[in-house]
């Protein structure tokens, strides 16, 4: 039982408020990922939970205990740092054992646990080495080992893989996924890597400038972003936004004018507080993977000339200029023969289109997928 509950948490650094009134419940045994742009307060929030920073206002519960003013060691958390933060003068064994020694475990118990952890992380043959004799991936495994031996209630990871190269990152990501499966502990993971967030998370918390934009499972965020910020942050490459004019409104549908005299009808459920005005402006959001090429111009939603082609072999990305000074990105399967300058007719299913208010950036609710 170790859910983490933040209530009205604020953090002020020398007069600037960095975390604004955060309310968040992280359920027991879930893998929660914090994502957000650089400087939005992900690390700060994690450090508040760890106890490395004092909470200026509000309260924090881990399990059923109020830990707001309890020192880090007594919170039952352990943390993996981006820079590994291994003790340079100790061997791998001593690094992993240090926390247990501080907590006065018996010699046998320490040995048992260290060996068990090194088994899980495949560090057995490295136990006598010093950190400087290890590769980046091995160091990060030691850092994780140091965290798991203490059998914490909550694991905190602050961008643990961002110092590793791409292929190692994929390997370590799988290792963390396995760890998540084996340990069944509450885990909080900070990253700004899309793929890490989408693949590892049970739930994602999207942060922006010290506030929570949205909390949900990866697929909830992907299909039902609450606003433009979340829509553009989740998914890679990011969602296209196209300006559109509201032509008419009729029973749960809205007719929109698009560039080049194209028209689209989208279903909307108008919940309270959201008003669509005729003649007003909205933005249509559609992901590159949901845009497809059509043969007939009449069936197209967008038409225009290709300006850039990025061929990745497995897929091809084309930037298409669609009028009103706007460009959209489209993903095509496989290796495409499209060239710069080609004229393309593009379409997307209405169920894959999102609708955003131009002024507030809030999304209009869609029917569930």
């Amino acid at each position: 039982m170790a859910q983490v509950v933040l209530k009205n948490v604020r953090k002020v650094f020398d007069k600037t408020e960095v975390i604004h009134n955060i309310n968040l419940e992280i359920p027991d045994n879930e893998f929660t990922v914090f994502v957000g742009p650089s400087g939005c307060g992900k690390s700060t929030l994690l450090r508040l939970i760890a106890g490395l920073e004092d909470i200026t206002e509000g309260s924090l519960h881990i399990g059923n205990t109020d830990v707001t003013t309890i020192p880090p060691a007594k919170r039952g958390v352990s943390m993996v740092f981006q820079s590994y933060a291994l003790y340079p003068h100790m061997t791998v064994y001593e690094n992993i054992a240090f926390g247990l020694r501080c907590s006065q475990y018996s010699r046998n118990e320490i040995e048992k646990r260290v060996l068990q952890a090194s088994e899980i992380l495949q560090l057995n043959h490295l136990l006598d080495r010093q950190p400087k004799q290890l590769s980046g991936g091995q160091r990060q495994r030691v850092a994780i080992g140091r965290a798991i031996v203490r059998d914490p209630k909550v694991f905190l990871f602050d961008e643990p893989l961002s110092n590793l190269d791409a292929s190692l990152r994929v390997k370590m990501r799988m290792q963390i996924a396995k760890l998540k499966h084996d340990l069944k502990t509450t885990m909080i993971y900070v990253t700004h890597d899309q793929v890490e967030a989408m693949t590892l998370a049970d739930r994602i918390v999207v942060l922006n400038e010290g506030t929570i934009e949205q909390v949900g499972t990866p697929m909830e965020l992907y299909h039902h972003p609450r606003n433009k910020f979340v829509a553009s942050f989740i998914g890679s490459p990011k969602m296209n936004f196209v300006e559109a004019h509201i032509a008419s409104l009729a029973d749960g549908n809205v007719n929109l004018d698009l560039p080049h005299d194209k028209r689209i009808t989208l279903p909307v459920s108008l919940s309270e507080g959201i008003v669509l005005e005729e003649k007003g402006n909205v933005e249509v959001g559609v992901r590159p993977e949901h845009v497809f090429v059509v043969q007939k111009e009449e069936e197209a939603l967008f038409t225009g000339d290709v300006t850039i082609v990025e061929n990745l072999g497995s897929e091809t990305y084309a930037y298409v200029k669609i009028g009103w000074g706007q460009t959209i990105l489209v993903r095509l399967q496989g290796e495409s023969r499209i060239k710069v300058g080609d004229s393309l007719a593009l379409s997307a299913a209405p169920k894959d289109c999102h609708l955003f208010d131009t002024k507030t950036g809030l999304s209009f609710e869609r029917a569930p997928v």
Binding site: L52, A73, K74, M79, L86, P88
Partner: protein, 275 residues
């Protein structure tokens, strides 16, 4: 091939520097092996070698006692200064508090005071404390110059240690004392050796306080003992013996530096610790 052309000059220059640095010491050794009027002959190797100077300095005065005094004072000064400096530098380097930089600056400016300026005040203080003619008084007064620079240097090293290592230890449940002794001390070890050695040399060579604060020859330290050596008559300066004494007291320093040489070099780059 520029380098071939310059190499001889490089050697020449190095040789020159070594001669300038080492020659006085060589001369001292040579002089210490001579007696009487031989002393004033210019010879690079004495014709009549004699060790009588070395024997006499221990016979005619409590020179052995003086050496022990110096060892006691220097070791005491170094250990107390390091102990205080480590704790002070932890606070100054790792803890954020109001007036930290003001404190650091005042420590630095204190170390700029000339010794003479605080001599009379120190004399009164030592007398009041009842430490006059006492080695503890010397240790106390030496800390006025060793403490500022040991604190300052250790603070610089302390600041360079990565914050994450300390935080990892905090999360691991280490107390402040454990962090200091198990994490910071081993990482600062080279820096400690370097500063400790500097403090040792400073205390070992100190003259002014030692002269002012001691009266009996039993409680003198080496520099004072050497300076106050007298010859057979009032008008004779016992050069041979003075040189012999200097050689005897310089050797431990050289041995110390050689032992810790590799530590000193790495101490100067101790900031490069990385996880």
């Amino acid at each position: 091939m520029r380098s071939k052309f310059y190499t001889p000059f490089l050697y020449l220059l190095s040789a020159l520097i070594i001669i300038v640095c080492v020659f006085p010491f060589y001369w001292a050794i040579v002089s210490s092996l001579k007696t009487g009027s031989d002393l004033f002959k210019v010879e690079f190797w004495p014709a009549h070698l004699t060790f009588s100077n070395f024997i006499e300095i221990f016979k005619e005065q409590p020179f052995g006692h003086n050496i022990l005094n110096s060892v006691f004072v220097a070791v005491g000064t170094v250990s107390i200064s390091l102990m205080l400096a480590i704790t002070a530098s932890y606070a100054l380097g790792r803890v954020r508090f109001r007036g930290r930089s003001a404190l650091l600056l005042s420590i630095l400016s204190i170390s700029m005071f000339p010794q003479v300026a605080i001599l009379s005040g120190m004399f009164e203080l030592i007398r009041t404390l009842g430490l006059y003619n006492n080695l503890l008084g010397l240790i106390f007064s030496y800390m006025t110059f060793t403490l500022p620079f040991t604190t300052w240097i250790l603070t610089t090293f302390m600041k360079q240690l990565p914050k994450e290592i300390e935080e990892a230890a905090i999360i691991d449940g280490a107390s402040t004392l454990t962090i200091c002794t198990k994490i910071f001390l081993p990482l600062l070890w080279p820096a400690l050796v370097t500063t400790g050695l500097l403090a040792f040399i400073a205390a070992w060579n100190e003259f002014l306080y030692a002269l002012t604060l001691t009266v009996e020859s039993q409680s003198r330290t080496i520099p004072v003992a050497i300076a106050l050596m007298t010859g057979a008559s009032e008008f004779e300066l016992p050069w041979g013996k003075i040189m012999a004494a200097s050689v005897v007291v310089t050797l431990p320093l050289i041995v110390l530096v050689l032992i810790f040489q590799r530590r000193i070099v790495s101490g100067l780059t101790a900031g490069a610790v990385k996880g």
